[in-house]
């Protein structure tokens, strides 16, 4: 080991030399501790700097704790500060030694200089040592009453620190009440803001067990406090303004005049240079006008310009955050942005995560008037050097084609892509052409003519190959050499590594056989033989299934494998509207960036007051490590939608790495024959497939509804199954109900309603929120049956209204259940 090196003063102090440094530092500190010699403070400063720099890079300098404390008796503020920083960092692991520091910190809390008082108080509260809390109370109480506003700001946050060390001590000293009084009276805006930060955190955490805290929180969102804060909004720092605006966004105004007054008051906040203030204001505007369609739309028009300005100003990171919000708004109301499409063109300097967002926006806002320009622009990107972006662009063109009625031009463009002869372009395009044909079978002649020229040898990408093979099977009557191409593909069975492609090949050969039997017979035989010998279970099973079907009856086989198809009218959306709504509720938060509601990425104890859905969330988080902007969260939604989606759509959901063989596992064989159902028959089809999957979701789908519905008193449903069902089922009944006045009065905490519903054999699986908004998830089970009813119930106590969404395994009994639920709800409070 190297001998201790005493670094010369000129050397960079944050480059510590090694571990022996600590011993050396201890020694030198001890030497200086009692020294009152001139220049001692300078020497101490240098030593302290070295200690702090060790701390920064992660070297444990806690062994020097007592020496540091000994050196801390000084009047030099810079030294004091370094010492405070050190003590704050290590007190937790050295609770006994931390006691040593109490003395000088308490003394400093009485210093003449308010800066010293504030510093000492802040450090005292930051010790985070359980058995020292008693020493905190007196200085904190004094700090809250200090005549210096600096000390009061420190004390206001200090109370919160105390609360985190010992909540009981904090309450016993009546600090929350003191903070509340200070919040309502202090002339200094930062003191008010800090009180508000602390109170929100304290009461939110208490609200779970205390009705009183819940009431206090409710009061914070009440008219008097909101108006008090709004009236002095310009006194607050820009950061505190964000806090106030967030509070305001949760306020429920009593009438429209109030809404307009507030919006007029906050109008100039939209012109603030700080994007955080602008977004917080926008959230207020959006939420205030939710129920006023016209004004809401005007708000969209109004906020467009400031948002676009923010995207252009500031660092790329800041513009990204703003762009994510713009993306959310564009996706919600694409038609309002249709004339702004040029703003979403990709710029050369944009990073790829920005380009992806822009491509999605361009796709969404394409309509009759701008499609030509947008598609022209997208086609430029297809030749881009950035391959992933080129692929995304081609996908975007395809999606626009699927949205539009006039696809003429777009189909031409897509076919031009095939002529570019770039492998990845061809691959992407093939997948799209396949989807297009599923929606617009009338284009088959034009497409097939071009696709027919593509050599299957030149395509490596499994998805693209699968798409080509699907077209060969589907349109084998129009493609002269289809049987022969398929035959050659079958001959190379061994070289085909992707099971996905082999599965498609089996199906395509079957389809081809029904149309052109003599030419295909040989290939079919070879394919079935190869399939039966295949190592992959799915491929093997499918081959066996086909083989037996053919053995049983060729006509039946044809009906199963190649039934007449209806064009797909609408491809399923990738995200459920509930998820989207929830993200919109959480406007101006990380949810918008991640494109998923907060309960899917935050731990339970860190959720805010308006987030809910307790156990449901854990299950969905699963293996998601957060590295994908796209979410495992929607997996359950996807599960059923996959069955209706094409590969490319699926890819959208699962991220670029998600092109594994699972997409084409056994059930999707059925998919290829039943997926082309029109949207009207979607639901039963999904059920049938569920059953095939052996999920057992479905019990007796066509039972006639019993005259009176009786519920199982003690049903059992675990949250995982609940979540899964919730994702899979569609809403069978959606209603609004009114609560009785007594009901509203009794609903001070979610528990009361939960108990009441339990008495009606309706169980709560998750609940959350706080006044005036509560959210519940209930379930119930039909007596003597395995079919469940799932309910989402949002109660607003201010308006005494409840929004009810019911999903049922057995949709036919849903109405009976709905009335049962409603009557139980309206009885609430009267019993």
């Amino acid at each position: 080991m190297a001998p201790p090196v005493s670094t010369p003063k000129s050397a960079s102090p944050s480059q510590p030399s090694g571990k022996s440094e600590v011993t050396d530092l201890k020694l030198q500190l001890r030497h200086l501790a009692g020294s009152r010699a001139p220049g001692a403070d300078d020497a101490k400063r240098d030593l302290f700097k070295r200690v702090i720099s060790c701390m920064t890079v992660g070297i444990d300098v806690s062994p020097a704790f007592s020496e540091m404390v000994m050196c801390s008796a000084t009047s030099d503020v810079v030294l004091k500060k370094m010492c405070y920083l050190y003590v704050g960092n290590y007190a937790r692991c050295n609770p006994d030694l931390a006691l040593l520091t109490i003395n000088f910190l308490q003394k400093d809390c009485h210093d003449q200089d308010p800066t010293i008082r504030g510093l000492a108080l802040r450090s005292l509260c930051s010790l985070r040592v359980q058995n020292l809390v008693e020493y905190l109370v007196a200085p904190l109480a004094a700090g809250l009453k200090d005549h210096s506003s600096y000390v009061r700001t420190v004390a206001a946050i200090g109370v919160l620190k105390l609360y985190h060390i010992s909540a009981t001590m904090c309450h016993d000293s009546d600090f929350p009440a003191a903070l509340k009084a200070l919040m309502l009276s202090d002339p200094d805006a930062q003191v008010v803001a800090n009180c508000l930060y602390s109170l929100l955190e304290i009461w939110t955490q208490d609200a779970a067990n205390s009705d009183e805290a819940a009431r206090e929180i409710e009061a914070l969102y009440g008219k008097s406090i909101i108006y008090y804060l709004l009236n002095r909004i310009k006194d607050f720092s820009e950061w505190a303004q964000c806090l106030v605006l967030d509070l305001v966004s949760k306020y429920i105004p009593s009438d429209n005049n109030e809404i307009f007054d507030m919006m007029n008051l906050l109008e100039d906040r939209l012109q603030h240079a700080n994007g955080a203030v602008v977004l917080a204001t926008i959230k207020v505007f959006l939420h205030l006008t939710m129920s006023m369609t016209d004004v809401h739309q005007q708000v969209y028009e109004r906020i467009k310009a400031p948002l676009l300005t923010l995207v252009g100003a500031g660092s790329p990171e800041q513009s990204y955050a703003v762009l994510c919000h713009l993306h959310l708004l564009v996706m919600r109301a694409p038609m309002l942005f249709s004339s702004d499409y040029k703003h979403f063109y990709c710029q050369f300097s944009d990073p790829s995560y920005v380009k992806k967002l822009k491509l999605e926006m361009l796709t969404a806002i394409a309509n009759e008037s701008n499609t030509y320009e947008i598609v022209t622009e997208l086609c430029e990107y297809a030749g881009n050097v950035d391959v992933p972006i080129a692929q995304e662009s081609i996908r975007a063109v395809g999606k626009i084609a699927l949205q539009q009625y006039d696809v003429n031009a777009i189909v031409d463009r897509l076919l031009q892509f095939l002529e570019m002869e770039k492998d990845y372009v061809t691959a992407e395009t093939l997948v799209l052409v396949k989807d297009l044909l599923r929606k617009y079978p009338q284009w088959s002649h034009d497409c097939i003519a071009v696709v027919g020229n593509i050599s299957s040898n030149s395509i490596q990408e499994p998805k693209a190959k699968a798409a080509l093979i699907w077209m060969l099977g589907e349109y084998s009557q129009d493609m002269m050499d289809a049987p022969y191409v398929l035959e050659s593909l079958v001959e190379n069975w061994e070289e085909e590594h992707s099971p996905e492609v082999r599965l498609h090949l089996l199906t395509a050969v079957m389809k081809c056989f029904f149309k052109r039997a003599p030419e295909t017979q040989k290939a079919l035989g070879a394919a079935l033989a190869a399939g039966l010998a295949d190592n992959n279970q799915d491929v093997h099973d499918r081959a066996l299934f086909y083989y037996r079907l053919l053995q049983y009856d060729v006509a039946v086989a044809e009906r199963v494998v190649n039934p007449p198809k209806q064009a797909v009218s609408v491809f399923a959306d990738t995200q459920s509207s509930e998820i989207k709504d929830r993200i919109f509720d959480e406007f101006n938060s990380l949810s918008v960036v991640y494109q998923k509601p907060s309960y899917l990425f935050t731990d339970k104890e860190h959720r805010g007051p308006f987030e809910f859905s307790e156990d449901l969330s854990n299950l969905a988080i699963g293996g998601d490590s957060g590295d994908d902007v796209i979410h495992s969260a929607q997996r359950y939604e996807e599960n059923d939608k996959d069955l209706l989606l094409s590969t490319s759509d699926k890819e959208e959901n699962g991220g670029p790495t998600h092109n594994g063989s699972s997409t084409y596992s056994a059930p999707s064989d059925v998919n290829s024959s039943t997926s082309l159902v029109s949207s009207s028959t979607t639901q039963p089809a999904a059920f049938a497939i569920d059953d095939l999957l052996g999920l057992g979701v479905l019990d007796t789908p066509v039972l006639p509804p019993p005259p009176a519905l009786s519920l199982n008193a003690k049903p059992v449903l675990d949250p995982g199954t609940f979540q899964k069902k919730w994702g899979q089922l569609t809403v069978s009944s959606s209603q609004e109900s009114t609560l009785s006045i007594q009901g509203v009065a009794s609903l001070t905490a979610p528990q009361s309603l939960i108990k009441h519903m339990q008495n009606n054999s309706i169980q709560c699986i998750a609940s959350g929120g706080q006044p005036p908004n509560y959210k519940f998830f209930f379930f119930a089970q039909k007596e003597g049956s395995s079919s469940f009813f799932l309910v989402e119930c949002i109660v607003n106590t201010a308006s005494a209204k409840a929004q009810i969404k019911i999903k049922a395994d057995d949709a036919s009994a849903s109405d009976a259940f709905a009335s049962l639920f409603q009557s139980a709800l309206s009885n609430f409070g009267s019993s």
Partner: protein
């Protein structure tokens, strides 16, 4: 609320690490750095500024090659955290004069002092350089700016114009100068980033200007300042007007789509005579940000041509013409053009007597690069390149090359014609006459010509 804040070097070393709430494990800096470094190895994608690993949100900005990172366990407004990080970087720069790894390392105790006051228990307190002065006691150790590449858009003034004292923009706002007396001066920079896309036929497809009026004040006593802009400036297009439309007098009018202002700006007289009045806080800040999509004359015309010259050869001709006054000179110009992926070699031919120009064929990224030290207004420059391919050409070669992208900086030029008519400082005494610098600069944000 923010759990931790840290500054990492490009190599991932902790330069500053502050834990505010003790709820995120200590290894977070390492987790962050690994994630950013290996975001998607195969696709060379950049990590987004915001991501989540195991319930911890990592939010970062890159400033001066350093990562400024905040972690949080709660669902926070991302723009709030990003703005705050950016502001911390700016305040640090105000204090240290220069922001880079070296200056932070030398002054890390001061940075800790700042961080203590800027954030308490994860809640932002104040980011005003002025307010912070009374709580920060360390004297900044000034780092020699000359050795290190300066940062920020204003840095470019140091290269071109001789009128400006080189150290001005890198001077600490708080440090006392050797003479004991501070030089009274104020800088107003009009910085415009322009984005233009030319179609293959030279027609302008899109154009936009994102501008900032940036101020850095070294004035003592915070005198009031009046900043007068073009009288005929109008704001608001597409019906989203903030102010009344005034009849725009002819084509000379500057029409901004939208703008926003710093808190300290009073807009009372803005509606009347387009004058901004403000009491500038210490340090650097944006007085106003604006955006313009009104058509403007692009400073450069770019034409690019690629033609087959035999079965496996092609010729490229790049031409740029500076469409601005000969009194103005653009500097550090880079022209890049992606070429077909099967290009093996490129040989260049500069025009006769060309000076200060270099060319390069980047094999890895398959692009031609042409660097020009400066271009005087009105001048035209041409580059010819012969490409040799490893295979025969098939299809349309123009589809496999391009688009041409250009980077440049033009000092004392602004594309929008937005002007500061005058900069008035409220006089404290008759002899009080501080230096005022009003500077213009235009930079390329995305300047693209398609083939």
């Amino acid at each position: 609320m923010i759990s931790q804040f840290f500054v990492l070097s490009q190599r991932g070393d902790n330069i500053v690490f502050r834990d505010y709430r003790g709820e995120v494990a200590k290894g977070s800096a390492e987790i962050f750095f690994r994630k950013v470094k290996f975001w998607k190895e195969d696709e060379a994608e950049e990590a987004p500024p915001v991501f989540n690993v195991d319930g911890v949100n990592y939010i970062h900005v890159k400033v001066a090659g350093l990562f400024f990172v905040a972690t949080s366990r709660v669902n926070m407004p991302p723009s709030l955290v990003l703005e705050l990080l950016q502001r911390i970087a700016r305040v640090t720069k105000d204090y240290l004069g220069v922001l880079n790894e070296d200056s932070i390392r030398k002054n890390f105790v001061l940075v800790y002092e700042l961080l203590d006051e800027v954030i308490d228990f994860g809640y932002p307190q104040t980011t005003s350089t002025e307010v912070l002065k009374s709580y920060v006691f360390n004297e900044p150790i000034v780092v020699d700016a000359g050795r290190l590449p300066p940062l920020g858009p204003a840095a470019i003034f140091m290269q071109g114009t001789k009128r400006m004292p080189g150290t001005a923009v890198t001077k600490s706002v708080v440090a006392t100068e050797p003479g004991g007396k501070k030089r009274e001066e104020i800088f107003v920079d009009i910085i415009e980033k322009i984005s233009v896309t030319f179609s293959s036929s030279g027609y302008i497809l899109t154009s936009e200007i994102d501008g900032t009026i940036q101020m850095k004040s070294y004035l003592t006593g915070n005198p009031e300042i009046r900043l007068a802009l073009n009288e005929d400036l109008s704001i608001g297009r597409n019906g989203s007007s903030l102010y009344d439309y005034r009849s725009s007098s002819g084509s000379g009018t500057v029409i901004l789509d939208d703008c926003n202002f710093h808190e300290s700006v009073h807009l009372e007289s803005f509606d009347v005579d387009r004058t901004l009045s403000l009491i500038p806080p210490d340090g650097e800040f944006a007085v106003m940000n604006y955006r313009m999509t009104q058509e403007f004359k692009p400073p450069f015309r770019v034409t690019a041509l690629i033609e087959e010259a035999g079965s496996s050869r092609a010729e490229v001709i790049l031409k740029i013409r500076a469409d601005f006054s000969p009194n103005v000179t653009a500097n550090t110009i880079t022209v890049q053009m992606p070429v077909p992926s099967y290009t093996m070699r490129a040989s260049f031919e500069l025009e006769a007597g060309a000076t200060g120009q270099t060319t390069d064929f980047k094999e890895g990224s398959r692009r031609l690069e042409w660097n020009l030290k400066k271009i005087v207004g009105g001048a035209e420059h041409t580059l010819r390149a012969k490409l040799t391919f490893s295979q025969e050409i098939h299809g349309n070669i123009a589809k496999e090359a391009g688009p041409v992208n250009m980077n440049f900086t033009i000092p004392m030029y602004n594309a929008s014609k937005l002007q500061v008519r005058y900069l008035q400082i409220a006089k404290k005494s008759k002899t009080y006459n501080p230096y005022r610098w009003v500077r213009y600069v235009t930079q390329a944000n995305s300047y693209v010509a398609r083939l």
